[in-house]
Subunit: 355 residues, 2 copies
Amino acid sequence: VLFKKICIFALMENKKSVKNIRELAAILNLSVTTVSRVLNGKADNYRISPVTSKRVMDTAREVNYLPNKIARGLKLERTDTLGLIIPDVANPFFASIAKTIELEARKNGYSLILCDSLDDVDAEVELIQLLAGRKVDGIIIAPVGLGKSHIVEIQQAGIPLVVVDRYFPGTNIPFITSDNYKGAFKAVEHIISHGHKAIACIQGIRGISANTERVKGYEDALVKHHIPVDHSLIVGDDFGEENGYIQTRVLLNRKNKPTAIFALSNLISLGVIRALTETGLSIPDDISLVSFDEQPYSAYLASPMTTIEQRREEIAKMAVNILIGLIRKDKIQENINIMLEPRLIIRNSVKSLTK
Amino acid sequence: VLFKKICIFALMENKKSVKNIRELAAILNLSVTTVSRVLNGKADNYRISPVTSKRVMDTAREVNYLPNKIARGLKLERTDTLGLIIPDVANPFFASIAKTIELEARKNGYSLILCDSLDDVDAEVELIQLLAGRKVDGIIIAPVGLGKSHIVEIQQAGIPLVVVDRYFPGTNIPFITSDNYKGAFKAVEHIISHGHKAIACIQGIRGISANTERVKGYEDALVKHHIPVDHSLIVGDDFGEENGYIQTRVLLNRKNKPTAIFALSNLISLGVIRALTETGLSIPDDISLVSFDEQPYSAYLASPMTTIEQRREEIAKMAVNILIGLIRKDKIQENINIMLEPRLIIRNSVKSLTK
DNA sequence: CTGTTAGCGCTTTCAC
DNA sequence: GTGAAAGCGCTAACAG
């Protein structure tokens, strides 16, 4: 009782700041229980009179009461927060995935903690711990892809998790990625159909699924069209621009230069273009190019670039919805593996050698 | 005592999961206080024996104990979390800012809650409330820029806040942006120096500081060089690609076409290029172009584009460090307003009309 | 050098 | 219809 009085006095001095539900209850002359119930839309369940209910809502708004989500989280063991781990937020591919994930998460009442792993496994391990400590309700991760034990562990620890962009064969970790194999296959078939035989492939990080599958698609397309696979034409080891640049320079120094380059990421193709520009070579006249990852600028490059467009928005949305499903149903896994077939966007970066 | 026993039994069944500090203390046969102190590096302060200390640390690691940050946050009234509100995460300019902010925040022990406002003021208001409810320690916001009351309010509510990219004249909200005026001025002087007089300006959202300053820089550069400002050449109202496209189409239909276009964002210039490409016009032969925002692809466009490069990384890092300063010192504002002068990167998108 | 305990703001069980 | 009180996991004031 005394306490209530104190609260009321406190209120009079500082109208616009009720810092917790107790103070609010004090002004209303109600118990915290009742206030909490109304605020959580459970008025009906407890047959709280509509008039009380309205009074609570109105006052809450009036005094600008903001429920403390941290306290709520502690009690409910649920933070309404998702963690997102991405290898490089500045990469437009991941940036747009992050955007859609945030929007979709928010639509469902979740906030997003963003983490950039810099494509470094150690950082990734740390970040997963961090998110676990922060009690996120679930994690979406575009993993570096080398090493998966930390991911399996966190899944077994009971934290719902879905992997995007890359995946781990032989585990039951839910994933949703592009069908990288088919994408690469289509791209290379397209190049082959223009009469090319010496097609180089500049790859990204070796050993991760997305890369492996793309290379496999590349090889199989060659094989299907009876072109022997020349392993010396498969070069590189990183998805960054620098790798594209360096490998192109190296390729151009070969005795028998390739007539076409298949770049396994948007950044790689930018590096390819830089190397070509520097050496005065032009696309597609001197060398042809097809790249993974459509970008807003792809059409406006010196020569509009033929690309493979991943369905980023779908990947992101599905990831969120599947994750939320896992959270709500309290199921950790149910063999979810989705591969979305990418689209080949044909422009003008492949020269026809047949005519 | 009984309780401790129970905990120990619980432990034996499930070795690898101590869910709270009490359980951990129980196995160690220590009080939670001692354990907490050791875990928080305060062993020395309380002269806890090194052997105890070591035992605590070792056991904690062994049983895989992860402190619950939520509980900690509730107690400490500090979440070690920053909020970031950005108008469009998919925009590479903001994506790279977000990346640097996340990295810098993490380096300082903070996690980042990412929010995309879609350049919508209502969403922005909501997001600020959301972050306040989540008890973030501070907020970095690249505001839509229309309306500032919600931002002033949150600042007065005592939540440390810093604004990036745009700012609000006439308030004491700390901000850090590019010197948009100087950037635009430089760009337009560059165009003028090539003999252009009919220079169009395709602007972004009117009324926000970044846009206003850029337009002012544009105008002043003209004035300085005795070129009358033709207001019908200042067009557009959005930073997006579509606006660039539409306005260019309109400009091209004028009786007296401009000889150069100054685009106030990277997305706008992409729209300009699309319109030009469609109508068979080329840069810089038919029309010249300079754009705000350097991008990784700027150099590789059909004609390498002259751009104004904002110092994104510096902006992001300063934002984080200033914010953390405000948080730690418990100061809300101290008249921080920083403007970083952008750099003009000259390439080949402006034709010389003088020779 | 170590421990007991109150309490951060919230929800919910149980009681009336 | 409403309320008292326990307790989520943690830290720190106070007490030895």
